[in-house]
Structures are given as structure tokens and as C-alpha cells.
Point group: C2
């Protein structure tokens, strides 16, 4: 039963985006959508978690411009190569051609780093740790998908830091990883952290660490990346500082980002056949109360519900007073993933109970009226835990250790999972493995490798994960 | 003394934007700036007030796309005429020309209304009340100025509503005015509300109500507008509904907006020679504590300050522990407009007091240690009140009733004020008055007119305000 939605995940996903009123995808430009009020609220609560986590660790929020002059974007050769096919260009103001073409930011290094060059003078200025949450743009020619592959990425959270040594930048990479891990944990999104192979790192970075999760259809989704930039961008943008020895030195930088995909994962990993199942912290409505009206007792039921609503102050509670049958209301709020439903009828009142229904398990049980508030707290916390654990277990159950290209294919294409396997570490062999398996090397794990490379049979240097990514 | 900053307002304003770390204006595109962390926090608190006010009245937050297809933008003839010289056009994706040119939204009617046409079916769908806070773009060829005249308007708050009758839309216009009035009141920004003359209304609107405030240099700034759209856009975008009689009818619409200018006004109206003077509700730091260290008593002072900080939980408190002289610290926080400064030295501790210094008045006075928290609350509230009243009085003192074109000129150019005068109501005469006075008719007041038009001498139909606007 539970598996049905997974087997028709693509359809389920489109359905849910529409029926749970997350986005309206009918906007007349491909890959560009409208956030509806219910979806926008989820986004808002997710952003609150992201902001809180970054600010706790000393990142300050800023806002840099959308428009980047062409000469700035082009400065870092490798970087621009990674983006040039996908950049939207503003070429005219009114009917007049612009003297300098302006790019819509595909990401903001080239908007931010010229300013860093002005801000940073000496080692005393470090660390610089800023972030922003903005829209970014990619001219996607491939098939687009809501929240996953977009032309307007509406919710790009990007942090940028500068330091006085490579070691400090390394420590910052770790902090970035910790921050993102905490955010994913709060959202109940399980992940695998790995180091992207050289040929798949962020253009201009020394190396890229990436967070991938597994979608119900067996494809992996990159939900966050952390980049060690070394001095690469600092050299290009002349971000220098006077070091302790009184000499000018290039700054050491990191950056990390996550996007709308975090919300795609949040929605997709906790679903089921009836719709969404939201983590309480980001649910626009945490508790929905459904009156079970019976002739002659309507006022009594409404009064009781008024009392319950008051008692639950601090929670996001909605009373569904629509003139519809309870069953229809259950159905609507299940699609929207409201974590906890309370049903209140005359029999509940007589028995001095409230009927609880958990969205995650479907369990239905009476709770003593006097224990209401405590139980709501307890159940919501238990839902959070259960959804997180369930998603974690699902991911773990889909990671398979394999030792041949045939088995990689088997795992990825038939079992809809992720293959954990062995690689010698040489680029040409890695690319060859990818081609033969028709599966990408997502990244290199920290764990040590023992055995032979599945490509060339030489001694394996690395454990890697392989999968089909979105 | 207080007048000095007003007399050199242009310079003061640029200074403050830089020294209080609101924006970095050195970004390499004209009229496009970077929000720095301190400025960004002010912006965040202002937005919290705006969101709170709109949501209290049932507006739901959404997010519509930045990019608008050229054919949508061009649909409403009058509307596009008002914007076409100022629209930025995206013409290329990578190196490929786009089939459909995309405009960067100058405002979002043409992005939102095609979706309204899909959402609205019947009278039961009303009212629709949404808002969004987004960046918008204008290709300004005139002189730009931070937060006032921009190419990237970073903070455009726009609400859009649909209704089943003109009367309901009229009621909504009133609610829009009330919402905005509350927001300005919370920010201590005094305003004059008037109806823009026909030739200066929002392109496509039936009529436009506008909020203007007066800047220290004698120029008026439009800080908010509310538009009755009637059925104009609904006809263009085919937003129809089935009315109570079962007939298809065009929807009735309103929209209203405010921008970065609200923040410009907030900063400018409460300043003085020493810098900003922030309304406590939007101050990133509400209370700054300065230790007055004396050899042999440093630990004692720090301990006392630790206790004070704990006691002030819930306020935004900053302890300035920098290794600098107190005088230098006072100076820094005055520029940044921190409403309340507490000075704590060994003598204060011995006397069981804390020294309070108000940013708005400069008053310095001891407060009994045990009354600290109550006094902080009281003083912050009094600062809010005082700043609001001071700004209100200043505006009132600069509005002059006059009855000739000569006197309009005198008021606006010499007294740096706003002229309140009489007009017959005819467009040709109005335009003629504007030309002869070299001053704009800002808008028409609700108050009745008695006397003769200053242009033609005929019976005056309207009281109007005239001024030099930004």
C-alpha cells in the first residue's frame, strides 16, 4: 500500500504540487512558477530554519544585486565556462541597447567578490561570513520540473566566507557541512555527504562537498553543496589582505548553497498515497480541528472547539467550519499534510475526550480532554521523529554495496537505489565506469576503500556512491 | 543646531547610508546597491511590520515570477505606455536569442493577472487578497539615489485584490489606505494623503491615492500608492466571474504598493547632526551598553553588565567591548541610531544606578538599578512617541496655505515646504499652474474648497497640495 505512491512518483509529485496548493505551474514561461499562499508558508518556515541555523553560527544576512555586468561574470575563466550556456542576458533598457550587457545571476560569486575586494584590508577583518536568500536564473534547455529543475530558482540560499588561511577555510567548510546537516536534520531529510569527483565540482572551486538524497523514484537529488574555493576567486577579484607579517596575501574563501530543492525533498520524502505529510515545524497548519456536528448539539460542539483552540495558543491551529461532510475535510487536509487532526463530536464531549488522528501513521485514538495540550506537544514531536526515522530508514535500505559494473546497473535501474562501490581514483577510469554503467559517480566517501576498482581492477583508492541524479 | 543636517541634507544622506552601514553604493552598476548586514536588519524589521499589518487584514503572501513575456506586458495599452521606456529586456539565454522577449517586472500586474484569470470562477471566490515583497526594475536614465530612485528596487511590497463589485473594491481601497496609514504610523513617518491628478495616476488605474512625506531638503517623496483599478485590467486579462445572477462579469480590482522609499523616509525623517535616530521597533540594536572601565574595577563592571544583559532578555542588546575609548563608541552608535545607550562604570555600580542616554534628545540621567527593565521599556516607548511627534510637527510646520502662484513658488522654493492651495479642477488649467509655478500638483485633498482657482480665478473645486517631488 505504502509503495503505491512511490511507484507512480512523477505523477504523485505533479499532483501534490497542484492539489496541496504549493505552486501554480501554469505561468506562461517554462520552468517558472508561482508560489501559492499555502506553499509560500511552508517555504517561509523552511527559511526560518535556514536563517536561524546560519545566524547562530555568525553568518550575517545581506542582499546583493541581481544584475551582474558581463565583464565581472567573465573574469573567472573556469567559473564562466561552467555557466555561460545557461545565463540569461539583459541587453536592452527600454528600446535602447545597454552599453554593458547584464547577466541575471546564475549564482552570486561574481556579484559579491568585487565588493569583498573593497571590504577586506587586513587579517583583522576575518572571518567575513555573509549569506543571502535570493532568486537566481538558469536558461534550462532540458525538461524542467517544479522546485527541482527551474529557470527561476526562487529560493537560493548562498553563504560566502573569507579567511586568512587555507586551514581556516577548511574549518569553515566543516562548519558549512555542520550547518547544512542541522538544517536537513530539522527537516527530516536524510542525506549522503560525499566529495564530487573533479569533473563535477563547482566551476572555480578547489573541491566540492555535496549532499544527496534519494527520491522515491530512485533518482538522487543534490540538495546542498559546500565549496572550498581556496584562493582561486580571490586572485581573480583581487581580494587581498595584509597578513600578520605585513605582506599582502590573497584571501581564502568558501561558499555553500541550497535551493528550492530542499523544499522538493521535504515534500517528497514524507509523502504517501494520501498526499503530503509535513514535519510539524514547517506545517502552515499543525493542528486541524474538524467539528463532527449532530443536529441539536451544534452549539455545544462549537463551544468545545472554541475552548480547545484557545488552549492550543502558540500552535498553528485551523478550525474547518466549512459546510462539508467530515470525510471530505479529512481528505483535503490529508493532501495538504497537516500533521495532526482533532475530531470533536458530541460523543467526545460526553466522554471528556478529543479524538486524535495522526497524519503520519493514520492512528486514531482518544485523548483525555484535560491532557490535551501535553498530548498535542507529545504527538507532534513524535510525528517529527517518526517521519525523520522513516525517511532515514528508507534511504539506508536503498544503499547497496556492490563490486561490479553489472551490479551497479542492477542496483540503480532495477532496485531504484544507490550503489556504493570501489574506484581507483583515476579520472579516465572514472569516466569510463560512468559510461559503461550509464550511471554517474555522485561522489567520494570519507570511508576507506579495500578491494579493487570496478573499472580497471587496480587497487581501489576510494569508496564512491553511484546513482542516477535529477 | 538641529537644523544643520537639514541644510546639507543631500550630503548627510549619502554619508549616513555609508557610515551607518546601510548600503554599499559602490556596486559597479548605476542605481543598484548592496544591502549591508546592519541595513538589512532594519529592512527586515520594517518588512515584519508590513507583513504583520497586511496579514492581520487577510492578505496572503505569494511569490510571482520576475520574468514577464513581452506579449503579457504589452496587453494593457495604457499600462505599457507608462512603463515601456523603463523596462529592462532579457533577450538571450546563453548565446541564443529567446523566441519571446522577457521583461524584468517593473511592477507585477501583468505577471499576476493572467493567473487571477485562471483562479477566479465565481463570486464565491471573492475577495482575493494577495501580496508579495519582491525586487522590481526600472531603467532609470535620470540621476539615481540610494533607496529613492533605483534601477533595482529591492523591496517592493505590492498587494493585489479582486472583488465582485465596484463598491467592494472601493471598500478595499479604504482598507489599503488604512493598512498603509498603520504601517507609516508604526514607523513614525508622517504623510499627506491625496488623490493624484488624472495625468499622474497609475497607468491603467481608475484613480490613484498617494501618500507623500516631506524630506528635510524640502522635497516630497511618494512613499505609497493605492489604486482603484475598476474593471480595466480585468477586461484586458479576462478575469471574469459568475455573479449572483448567473452572468459572467469582469472582476473589480485594486492594488497598492510601497518600496525601499519607506526605509529612506524612516532614515531621513528621524535624523540629526550626529546621524540616524531609529524607531526602537526597527532598530537592529535597541540598547547598547558601554562599559566605562577603570583600572582595578574591570571585572566588576563586566559582571554588572552581564547581569544587565540577562535582565534585558527580549530586547536587542549589544555590549560594546571593543578596546576603544567610550567617547569613540558613543560616536559610532549615535551614527547608527541606536535608541538607548546605557553607560556602566564603577560609580554607577556604587550608586546602584545605570546611566541612560537617549539618542533622540541626548538626555543623560541615572536610573535606579532595580527599576532598569521597566525604565528601558518606558524610555523606548517614549522615544518612539517623541520621534513620531517630532516628525509629525515638522511636516505640519512646513505646510502653508497660499492663494497665488507666486506664493506657491515662495513656499516651495524658499520655505522648502508644501503649498496647500485652490484649483478649479480642469486639467488644462492644472497643467498651466504647474508650468507657471514650476511646481507639481501632488494631489487633491478630501477637504472641501472655498475660494478661487489660483490658475484661472474661476470657482475652486478642489484643495490641492503642490510641491517639488523626488
Amino acid at each position: 500500500m505504502e509503495e503505491k505512491w512511490r511507484n507512480r512518483f512523477g505523477e504523485w509529485y505533479s499532483d501534490i504540487i497542484e492539489k496541496a496548493e504549493i505552486l501554480d505551474v501554469r505561468y506562461p514561461v517554462k520552468g517558472i512558477h508561482v508560489w501559492l499562499p499555502y506553499g509560500f508558508k511552508i517555504r517561509r518556515y523552511v527559511l526560518a530554519i535556514i536563517r536561524n541555523e546560519l545566524e547562530k553560527r555568525g553568518h550575517e544576512e545581506t542582499l546583493f544585486p541581481l544584475l551582474i555586468p558581463d565583464y565581472e561574470l567573465a573574469k573567472e575563466g573556469k567559473h564562466i565556462k561552467g555557466f555561460e550556456d545557461e545565463v540569461y542576458w539583459v541587453t536592452h533598457g527600454g528600446i535602447n541597447p545597454l552599453e554593458v550587457k547584464l547577466a541575471l545571476r546564475p549564482t552570486s560569486e561574481t556579484a559579491i567578490y568585487p565588493m569583498f575586494a573593497l571590504w577586506i584590508r587586513s587579517h583583522a577583518d576575518f572571518p567575513v561570513k555573509i549569506y543571502q536568500i535570493v532568486n537566481t536564473f538558469r536558461y534550462e534547455t532540458k525538461h524542467t520540473r517544479p522546485l527541482i529543475r527551474l529557470r527561476e530558482i526562487t529560493t537560493f540560499s548562498e553563504a560566502h566566507t573569507c579567511h586568512g588561511s587555507y586551514e581556516e577555510a577548511e574549518a569553515q567548510v566543516k562548519e558549512g557541512v555542520d550547518s547544512y546537516s542541522s538544517i536537513f536534520k530539522a527537516l527530516g531529510i536524510p542525506f549522503i555527504l560525499s566529495r564530487r569527483p573533479e569533473w563535477d565540482k563547482f566551476p572555480g572551486a578547489d573541491y566540492t562537498l555535496a549532499f544527496d538524497t534519494l527520491f522515491p523514484d530512485g533518482r538522487t537529488l543534490q540538495i546542498g553543496t559546500v565549496h572550498q574555493l581556496g584562493q582561486n576567486f580571490a586572485e581573480t577579484f583581487e581580494i587581498t589582505f595584509e597578513n600578520l607579517e605585513g605582506e599582502q596575501e590573497y584571501a581564502y574563501q568558501t561558499c555553500y548553497g541550497m535551493s528550492d530543492r530542499v523544499i522538493a525533498a521535504l515534500l517528497s520524502l514524507h509523502g504517501d498515497d494520501s498526499g503530503l505529510s509535513l514535519i510539524p515545524e514547517v506545517a502552515p497548519i499543525q493542528v486541524v480541528i474538524i467539528p463532527v456536528w449532530k443536529k441539536g448539539h451544534i452549539d455545544e460542539v462549537n463551544r468545545e472547539i472554541g475552548g480547545i483552540d484557545k488552549e492550543l495558543v502558540g500552535y498553528r491551529v485551523h478550525i474547518d467550519n466549512r459546510d462539508k461532510r467530515p470525510g471530505r475535510k479529512y481528505y483535503d487536509w490529508e493532501i495538504k499534510g497537516v500533521p495532526l487532526r482533532l475530531e470533536v463530536g458530541i460523543r467526545d464531549i460526553e466522554n471528556q475526550v478529543v479524538t486524535f488522528v495522526r497524519r503520519d501513521t493514520g492512528e486514531k485514538f482518544p485523548v483525555k480532554r484535560e491532557e490535551l495540550r501535553d498530548k498535542v506537544e507529545e504527538v507532534l514531536e513524535d510525528i517529527r521523529k517518526n517521519l525523520s526515522e522513516r525517511a532515514q530508514k528508507y534511504l539506508e535500505s536503498r544503499i547497496f554495496k556492490v563490486y561490479s559494473i553489472e551490479n551497479v546497473k542492477e542496483v540503480v535501474y532495477n532496485k531504484k537505489g544507490i550503489a556504493k562501490t570501489l574506484w581507483c581514483g583515476r579520472k579516465d577510469c572514472g569516466v569510463d565506469i560512468e559510461e559503461r554503467a550509464d550511471v554517474d559517480i555522485l561522489g567520494i566517501l570519507e570511508e576507506e576503500a579495500e578491494g579493487s576498482c570496478i573499472g580497471c581492477g587496480e587497487k581501489a583508492e576510494k569508496q564512491v556512491i553511484m546513482g542516477r541524479s535529477y
